[in-house]
Symmetry: C2
Subunit: 116 residues, 2 copies
DNA sequence: CTGTATCCTTGGCGATACTG
DNA sequence: CAGTATCGCCAAGGATACAG
């Protein structure tokens, strides 16, 4: 007796967690950074490679193909010499920007807090 | 001659990508979902385990310890019988909510677009 | 420049059993 | 209930070389 018991929970989880759809797109190493750089301006393969530092071309190709298949990134071959390829965000890709920016904002705040 | 060359890029990448800080916290399997559920209400270990479905206790422990060390999650042992432990978001943890919600919103939109 | 093709490593994660 | 302790896997990612 006199056992203290916790109150029963009233609310079950309010909604099955709906993160999966979006995370399946922006998940994976480098992907958020790629979207971040493309959100600033369209960029070429080698420009992205430089932006990202140590990414291997294989992985960059993989990510870009995936993003293109998801309708997030547009790939355009320019008739220049030598041929160049320009990657940009599609309209759908731009919908990801608020999410990325929210992450960036929190990143800044966390960094600030840590330095205190 | 008459070689078509692309215009030089004016702007270099505007800012070193600032995603790392935040992604090091919400990155990793299950982590965003844990924050998502905790953002609704404080929850116990086994409640989270149920919420998350197939997560193993080992991984859940790992994640919670990490989040606690990052100052994102608060762990409180309640003097009940049997002893229970309640996890909740700290003030810092609440700062992650906008990012999570942005991801959720995009997830919904992507899902809607795919179904068309 | 823009990728492919191969090979190899690692650590994140799952499964299971067990403890206080 | 709330976790540890072990074991093992395998797929994501890195390194490198090569091709159109």
């Amino acid at each position: 007796m006199a056992v203290v018991r916790r109150k029963n929970r009233v609310a079950p989880p309010p909604e099955k967690c709906p993160l999966t759809e979006c995370l399946s797109i922006i998940g994976g190493a480098w992907t958020p950074n790629i979207i971040w750089y493309l959100s600033v301006q369209p960029r070429r393969f080698s420009e992205l490679k430089n932006d990202l530092g140590s990414i291997s071309p294989k992985v960059l190709t993989e990510r870009l193909k995936r993003l293109e298949a998801d309708g997030v990134v547009l790939r355009e071959v320019k008739p220049t010499s030598p041929p160049t390829v320009e990657y940009s965000l599609t309209e759908l890709g731009n919908e990801l920007k608020p999410a990325i920016e929210a992450i960036v904002n929190v990143g800044h705040r966390l960094k600030a807090l840590k330095q205190q």
